[in-house]
Amino acid sequence: MRAVRVPPALLGAFAFGALLGQPAPAAAPAPAPPPAPAPDVASADAALPAHADDVADYTLRASLDPVAHVVHGEGTIRWRNTSTQAVRELWVHLYLNAFKNERSAFLRERVGGRGSAAPEDWGWIDVHRLALEVPDGPAVDVWPTAELHRPGDDDQTDARVSLPGEVQPGERITLDVAFDDKLPTVVERTGYRGSFHMVGQWFPKIARLEPDGRWAHFPFHHLSEFYADFGTYDVTLDVPQGFTIGATGPLIEWHLENGRRIERHVQSDIHDFAWTAWDKWQGMREAIDGVEVTLLYPRGFRRIAQREMAALRFALPYECARYGRYPYPVLTVVHPQDDVGEAGGMEYPTLITTGGAWLTPPGVLAPEIVTVHELGHQWFYGLVATNEAAWPFLDEGVNQYAEQDAMGRWRGPGSAVDLLGLSVSDAAIDAVGGDQAAHDEPVAQPAYAFATGAAWARLVYARTASILETLSRVYGDDLVARAVGVYARRYRFQHPGPDALIGVFEQVMGARVAATLRTALYDEGWVDYAIDGVSARRATRPAGLFDSIGGQRDKVEPGQADVEGWDDAVLVRRRGTLSFPVDVELTFADGTTRRERWDGEGEWKRFAWRGPVALRAAVVDPDDRVLVDQDRENNHGATPSGGGGAPRTLERALYWMQLALQAASP
């Protein structure tokens, strides 16, 4: 999921940049073509599994009442015990109950960010039947004995269902289910407004059973998302005839009946299903890289929809090359209008929601960023189905890196804003955002453990992406891309944890990188490179008394400058718990520069030499590779005459202030 709204930092940067006229590169970068898959990538793709292990299959029929905003659902759930343990209970997620009252975990934990306001109209799910089919007998309704909430906790999003008998490892059961959803007004991903309906987290969903027999169940927390097993979803949707449907999976069949539109969507190898129905959707369709892409948008948003389609034209083949082919035949992109903006910026298998105002200027790339971000979730969440509640950085953080990478490759340094001479990259925004919370909490922790929504966003999204981008800039883009690509392919249709990711980095990039990654993710790792001293003294002979061979004693006065050259020295420090190899650029009085390399392992490094020219200044990490450097303002040092001053700032500040005065003056 990604917040659709432009981050305040970006708005501030835009406002200030527009004020001062920060320049963009000389020419807008031409969109780079997606890289052709390397031979090893092609062969790696050939080795990808064709299908996931089918664990939880849902065959549902859902009928929408667009006036009451009620979805009536019924069908069957087939579930298989893939653990090594026999189980006597099921845990069932009833996510929609998060919006039933303010005693839900979701609404109790309003720590900022999306979904913080209570819905104007409550939403809930009522399960009427969950009947276990028994061979040679009537089905046993196990719902009446279900435990909807724990003692002392009114949250009803995590139900425990006792079974009449054990389900053995490998055994499959079938449950008949009937339920009614009352949708809330749109709040965080789901709901209605007028005739608009976005239907997510809408059916009783069986929690994932881990291989050791432990249920990975949890209430619907404010900051957490989801986790489920793969399976086949066969869903028949029934809406008024005038409505347009967008849904997970390809449309298998449809017909009109008694003023209703009936559509059947079927998709295997996925772990969730969402859909939208609205009588005002406009649409466009295009085949991209063999995938049928449908984009649904409101009237008046065609220009934005075309921009989003252009982003997909680049990003879909690019991400396939990076992280393995997209295995589904369709992709549906839903762009809600702004008054239901919380339905935007969300990912489901083969269906993503994006967002952005219809008037978004072409140089503000928010619609493109959100679209590329949600597309990336098809890999990091969809195909690599990590536990989003327990390890949100594994989906949002890694995917944020994928977003930065794709946007940067496509749009260059202006990958977030490229307007009026101001170019700001997606990576720069994340670097600064991540810095702001670097010492607050670890990145690698459950979503519900974060103290605030701001910390969650800055650490899970921005910090993770900045860490990976730093590794990319320091050790090489190819290596990090290969590591993430190996991770995405190796764990396709699986449910890896953090160790899997770090293990792949160790395999591809070595133990030092893996250790750095672990520290950065788990231990609030940080680093600050600093120039702690720059000196240039005219070379002098050492002063004092010196015994010579003949027994004479020579006296050298202090400051006796009878040798040529300069004694130059630079002290560089590394503070913090992370380390990266860095360059130190030395600038001399004659204008020449030289670079020294420091492996960054110690806490400090002194460079000292005698040379013909005086040193004037030094810069550590001159190419801005260490994005997670805590303080960039101490990355340089100079002798008293060595600094470059701030002439550009004076020039631009004067100019834009003059223009402002002309606007304000009579």
């Binding site: 008046g300 001053g645 009579p666």
Partner: protein
């Protein structure tokens, strides 16, 4: 009000200032006045720009590349500086707000001075005594200040009322149209209503400038000047509005040129920075000249309007 000065086309004296003929009121004949206006704006801008420079100097002054990193594509250093030095930046922004507010009021004096320079010639100037002429113009501008200030208050309030009403109406229209037309079309309609209200505000602005011209031209007080301005506008509303509008539009073009050049210059310093600074200052001067040109047009218009009234 005396209209004797309008009765023939010969330059004539009134106190120490000598009125010029209506067609002779041209901004292009007064490059020094335009330069003085630029100098005033530059001095005021420096009050804010210098502390901003100091803030950046403290952070990046020791970098041998200076503040080039701040202006590099990608914006990492810029964003980082905005966050890290937010407190200092807030004080600079606060200074800018004060400077802008002060300029809106104190700027009436240089504006009046430019108008006086355009509308009159001076006996001292005719006699080659420039410094005395400058003093005389400044004294005239100071004398015009109270009337100008009164006009500023009255018209600003009126413009505020129009804008608030227009935006409230626009918002109401958007809300009413949203369900039927959809968000985008409703907001476009809202934009049309808002633009219409800004057009009304610009009409008030034109009348305001005509009234200011009347203050300078006829030395009338605020409300009398407003009536003269309104009467002048009523005689040729479209012509006058267009005279203002094309200059306002033309004044935007140099900004785009300046932005494009800044974009090309990037973080480069040295000669490129000097050229950029020269172009930027040329943009500021060009805009000051367009302002002065409009004020000259306002002066000619109120002059002609009164001639027509007499005729």
């Amino acid at each position: 009000m005396s209209t004797a000065a309008l009765e023939d086309d010969a330059p004539r004296r009134r106190d120490d200032l000598v009125l010029v003929t209506t067609p002779a009121m041209r901004a292009r004949r007064h490059p020094f006045a335009i330069a003085a206006l630029w100098a005033w704006q530059t001095a005021m801008a420096l009050l804010v720009a210098w502390p901003a420079r100091g803030l950046v100097q403290a952070a990046y002054g020791n970098d041998p590349r200076g503040d080039a990193a701040l202006w590099a594509p990608g914006g990492h250093a810029l964003l980082d500086w905005l966050w890290r030095d937010a407190h200092g930046l807030r004080s600079v922004v606060g200074s800018a707000e004060i400077a802008l507010g002060a300029a809106a009021v104190l700027g009436l004096v240089p504006m009046a001075a430019v108008m006086i320079a355009i509308a009159h010639t001076r006996r001292e100037r005719l006699e080659g005594r420039w410094s005395a002429a400058v003093v005389e113009i400044a004294a005239g501008a100071l004398r015009a200040f109270p009337a100008m200030a009164l006009l500023l208050v009255v018209v600003t309030i009126a413009q505020g009322v129009v804008v608030a009403t227009g935006l409230a109406l626009a918002s109401a229209v958007e809300s009413a149209a949203r369900v039927g037309m959809g968000e985008a079309r409703a907001q476009q309609l809202e934009g049309v209503v808002a633009i219409a209200s800004f057009a009304a505000v610009s009409v008030l602005g034109v009348v305001h400038d005509l009234a200011r011209a009347a203050v300078v031209r006829f030395r009338v007080r605020g409300f009398r000047a407003l009536l003269l301005g309104a009467r002048t506008f009523r005689l040729a509303p479209l012509t006058l509005w267009w005279s203002w509008a094309w200059r306002a539009a033309a004044a935007l073009a140099p900004i785009l040129v300046g932005a494009a050049l800044a974009s090309r210059a990037g973080g480069r310093g040295g000669f490129v920075l000097l050229v950029l600074a020269a172009v930027h200052q040329a943009v500021v001067v060009a805009r000051a000249a367009l302002h002065a040109s409009w004020w000259a047009k306002a002066l000619r218009s109120v002059d002609a309007s009164l001639r027509r009234a007499i005729a």
